[in-house]
């Protein structure tokens, strides 16, 4: 019985028929999706923190409204994704609890600090650029609710990337100090952005299964290569150097070669030892706990209104 269900399921995937919440699915497929979608949702929510850091200090009103709108979008993306995840039978409270206790991960990139205004631009260009590279193929993911959430997310990400690039473009045409700030920021964010695609294919044990399930459409290294190829030309427009001495065009491959990634740093940050890991989780837990009275008040109000209604009906 189980076997024939599994065969049918794989046949649907192979035929590009989407899987919907109440359809039969293997437990491992469900678990993989819950892990991936919740990590993705947590990343959106934690991702609001490094940028929120600069809202009050944005250099002018135009930049401030754009940054506010962007951070608000991230909250929305988190919600689309939590909702998609809940269709797999896990509760919101459970998901949030997993984030707060460190059981669930989020993208390591958000464990780096935003120490200058240029970092806000660089996050838009490189971090959102890498995220878009990862996310566009997810619009065709085999799980319907995730794919649909990603369509909405991707539409909005394009604004994020463009606003970031505009910030950098302005700095690149500014004073010597501004150009230095830009270069310093790119120096700090380049490698962590490269790590956003995950371990090399050879060290990514779950990738093959995710590809067979069409949760994933391209391998980590394929997407990373596309990102490098895209960024090299964009860097020229900004007049910045990407901090990789091995970066050079390879005529034979038709791609840019790039230097080795420091995976020790990556795993160290994943394990919780990045510059901001503790601070990020502490901030989230704090916000959740301090917001408890608001949630309680809203529940009490809803109950009161409902009982009033009941009395009227009676």
């Amino acid at each position: 019985m189980e076997n024939s269900m599994a065969d049918k399921f794989q046949q649907k995937i192979d035929d590009d028929i989407r899987i919907e919440p109440r359809d039969w699915m293997p437990e491992a497929y469900r678990k993989t999706l819950i892990r991936q979608i919740s990590q993705h949702a947590h990343s959106e929510i934690v991702g609001m923190l490094p940028e929120g850091n600069w809202i009050t200090r944005a250099p002018n009103l135009r930049r401030k409204v754009a940054l506010l709108a962007k951070v608000q979008d991230e909250a929305g993306h988190g919600l689309y994704l939590y909702s998609a995840c809940e269709t797999l039978g896990v509760s919101r409270d459970e998901l949030i609890n997993q984030l707060h206790t460190g059981k669930a991960k989020y993208s390591s990139i958000f464990n780096y600090p935003t120490i200058t205004w240029a970092d806000i631009g660089t996050i838009g260009w490189l971090v959102d650029g890498a995220a878009i590279m990862n996310q566009v193929p997810l619009c065709r993911c085999s799980y319907g609710p995730y794919a649909r959430a990603m369509v909405k997310v991707c539409k909005e990400e394009s604004f994020h990337q463009r606003q970031g690039f505009e910030i950098l473009l302005t700095l690149s045409k500014g004073t010597e100090a501004q150009r230095q700030m830009l270069q310093d920021s790119v120096n700090r964010w380049w490698w962590p952005s490269m790590m956003m695609f995950g371990p090399n294919d050879a060290d990514s044990p779950h990738s093959a299964q995710s590809m067979a399930w069409k949760i994933k459409r391209f391998s980590n290294d394929e997407l990373r290569q596309r990102f490098v190829d895209m960024c090299v030309d964009q860097a020229k427009i900004l007049n910045v150097t990407l901090p990789d001495p091995d970066l050079k065009w390879n005529e034979e491959r038709g791609h840019y070669d790039y230097g080795p990634i420091d995976w020790d740093e990556f795993w160290n940050v994943v394990k919780g030892n990045g510059p901001c890991n503790r601070d990020r989780i502490e901030t989230r837990v704090n916000a959740y706990e301090k917001g408890a009275w608001v949630r309680e008040a809203a529940s009490a109000y809803a109950e009161k209104q409902a009982s009033k209604k009941a009395i009227q009906v009676a």
Binding site: E20, R22, D23, W24, A69, Q72, D73, G76, L79, Y80, S83, A84, E86, S91, R92, D93, I96, R148, A149, K152, E156, R295, A298, S299, Y301, A302, Q305, A306
Partner: protein, 93 residues
């Protein structure tokens, strides 16, 4: 948040079109659900009208029985215009 019901959100993107399901959210009551739906799903003029429905009140068929449910429509090709044999020189039909 567990005791807050889940609401399904339907948006009419412009007059003349159906409301379409866009996603869901948790809220303590109808008013909060409506406002949050506006903030989450209509930040860029995506809608002119919002419906919210408590998820638990939606009645749906069981996907395991969908074959039997939709079976009656499967072999009625005479319901389609191409079922009828007519000469090629017949125009406007």
């Amino acid at each position: 948040m567990n005791d807050w019901p889940l609401w399904e959100v339907f948006i009419r993107s412009k007059a003349g079109l159906h409301h379409r399901h866009v996603g869901s959210l948790h809220a303590s009551d109808e008013a909060m659900a409506l406002e949050n739906a506006r903030d989450v799903y209509c930040r860029r003029m995506e809608g002119v009208s919002i419906w919210i429905v408590k998820s638990e009140e939606i009645v749906a068929n069981n996907p395991e029985n969908s074959e039997a449910l939709f079976d009656p429509a499967e072999n009625k090709i005479y319901r389609h215009p191409t079922f009828y044999d007519l000469p090629d020189n017949l125009k406007h039909m």
